[in-house]
Subunit: 329 residues, 2 copies
Amino acid sequence: MKINKRVTIQDIANEINVSYATVSKVLSGKVGGNIRVSEKTKNKILEASERLGYVPNHMARNLKNSNLSLISVFTYENMENEEIQKEFFDFYIGVYIQGEKLGLDVLFLNTRKNIASSSRVTLSSGAIMIGIERDDSDIKALAKRNFPLVFVGRREIEGIQTSWVGFNYEIVISEIFESLMRKNIKKILFIKSSSQTEPYDDKRRFVEYFSNLYNIEVDSIIIDRDSTLSEIQINKMLDNDFYLLDRIWQSIIIDSFFKDNSLILGKDKYGIIMEDDWLNCGKWTCWNNQRKELGALATEHLFCILNKKDLPNKKLVPLKLIYKESFNI
Amino acid sequence: MKINKRVTIQDIANEINVSYATVSKVLSGKVGGNIRVSEKTKNKILEASERLGYVPNHMARNLKNSNLSLISVFTYENMENEEIQKEFFDFYIGVYIQGEKLGLDVLFLNTRKNIASSSRVTLSSGAIMIGIERDDSDIKALAKRNFPLVFVGRREIEGIQTSWVGFNYEIVISEIFESLMRKNIKKILFIKSSSQTEPYDDKRRFVEYFSNLYNIEVDSIIIDRDSTLSEIQINKMLDNDFYLLDRIWQSIIIDSFFKDNSLILGKDKYGIIMEDDWLNCGKWTCWNNQRKELGALATEHLFCILNKKDLPNKKLVPLKLIYKESFNI
DNA sequence: CTGAAAGCGCTTACAG
DNA sequence: CTGAAAGCGCTTACAG
C-alpha cells in the first residue's frame, strides 16, 4: 500500500547531512527559546524541505503528542436520503462551528453496519453521536470502554453512564398547554408516532404531565410515515379540533385529510407540531430550530470530557414556540 | 497533554503475560489463514481487552500501514455565514456520499488564516479544496509539494500543475444563446460581477464566444453585492429587455429595480442567471444544481490520484437550464 | 502456535 | 548549537 511515499524528515536529514532531530526542531517550528539552531543549518533545512517537497505527517505527530484536537461526528443514518441530510445539516454546522472555536477538527463518519469501519471513529479522540439507530452494538462497545462519546438527544444504554445533550421539552410543552388553557381548549387529540426512543418518550411524558396539571383531556392515535387513516382515526380527528403531533411528517397526512374533508387549518382545526422546523412545517405552529445550538453544545461537552474539565451546567437547549396559522395566540 | 491515557495493546499483553505481537494479531482481526493463535490465548486476549476497555488507536495503525482512506475537504470561507453554508452544503454532501462509496473518511477543515492549523490537512492523505479565497499561500505550498489536491472549480496556480473539476459552462451557455436566437433576441445586457476567478472568466469567455457566433449584441455593466445602480446602469437596464446575470444575488438588486420601475419579470423584461439554484433563484431561469455531482466527481478524482489510477475522463459536470418565468421557451 | 525485533514518521528530554 | 536514543501504539515479516 505504500504507493504514496512522501518525503520525510529522514530524507531531508540525509540530503544535507544533519541529524533528523534537528530537522524536526526546525520543521515543527520549535526553534526559539531553549531550542536553538544556527541560522545556517536552519536555512539549509528549509531549503532542502522546500526543494524535496516535505509535507509533515500529522498522524505521526499526533501519535507522539497524543493530540486531542480531532473529534468525529458519527451516525448510522443514510445520508443519501435528502430528508436525512436536512435533518442533520444544522447539527453538523453547529458542531463544525463550535469545533472551530475550540480548535477541534471534525471528522464526519457515516459508515453503516460495518464494524471494521465504524471503529475508524477511534482515529479521533472522541465522538458525537447523532441519529436514532438503536441496534448499534459497536457504539455500545465504545461507550462501555469509556471512549469519549456524547449523544445528541437523550440516550440511555444499559449499564453504562452516557453523556448526552438534548432539547428542553418541558418548558415548551408547558407553554403549549398554557396556551391551550388560555384558549379554553379542554380536549385534544395527540397524534403519536410509534417511535420509542428516549426523546419521544420524554415528549409524551410531558404531554401527560401537563395535560393532567391543566386538566385537559387527551385522546390519542398513532400515525406513522406510511399510515393510511382508519375509520376510528378519522372519527377521532373529526371529533377533535386540536391536534398535537409528534413528528413533522405526520402533517402531510393530516393536511391531506383536511383537504379530503374540506377542513381548513387555523379555522376549522388547530394544531401544533412538537418538532422544530427542520423540514418546513408550513402553516403549522412548531418550535424554533435550535439544532445548531444543540450541535454546539454537544461539541462543548465532548471538549470538556476530553480535557477533563467540568461539564457545562447547560445540558438542555431551550426551545420557543413559533406561532403560525395552525395555532396563533 | 497525556490526560486521556487509554488502554493499549501493551497493557493487555502485560495483564495476561502474552506477547503484544499476539495481542495485535487477535485484536486487529488478522487471525485466520496463515496467522494462527490458539483458541485459549485468543479468548484470554479478548476477555482482557473487554475487561480493561481496549480501544484501538487508529492513528498508530495508519502510521504503520499508511492508510489512504482519510481525505479532507478544505475551505477558507467563513462557515458561520448562513449563505456560505448553503453554498457549500451540496458539495459537502456529494463528497461525503461518494467518499463513503469509495471507503474514504472525510475530514472537514475550515481554518482561516492560520498556517499551523491549516497544515493539519496533512492528517489526511489528500484534500479537496472548495471556495474562492485567492490569497492562500499555504495551499500553494501544499500544491507545490505534491500533496494530493483537487480543486472544485477551475483553478490555476502559477508554475504548478493543479487538478480540478468544474461545471461544463460551454454547453449550457451555448444553449442560452441558441434560445435567445430562437426567440429572436438580438441584443442583451450582460450583468457582470467583478469576480476575477477562473470560473467566472470561463463563463464570460463563453458568453463572448457564443454572442459572436450567434451575432447577438452584448452590452455590459458591473453589479456587485453592495452596489447601488448608477444612472448609466439604470438607462442600460431600461434600454435592454434581456439580462444575463453572473451571480445569483444580483437578482435581488434587479428585482428591486423592477419594483421601482413597475416592470414585471417575464413580461416586460427577461433574463437568465448563470448560476445554479443554490440560493433560490425564485422566478429566474438558471441552471440545475449539480453540486453534489461536482463534489462526488472531485472525490473520485482525489481517490484516483491517491491510488495512482488514471483519472476519470470526466472532469466537467454538465448543466441543464431550468426554465422559469424570467425566460421560458 | 508464539514472540523478539524492526519499523511507520515524528518529538523530546538529555548529553555532549 | 547538534545529535543519539527512547518512545508514541501499532503491524508484520521472520525465527523459533
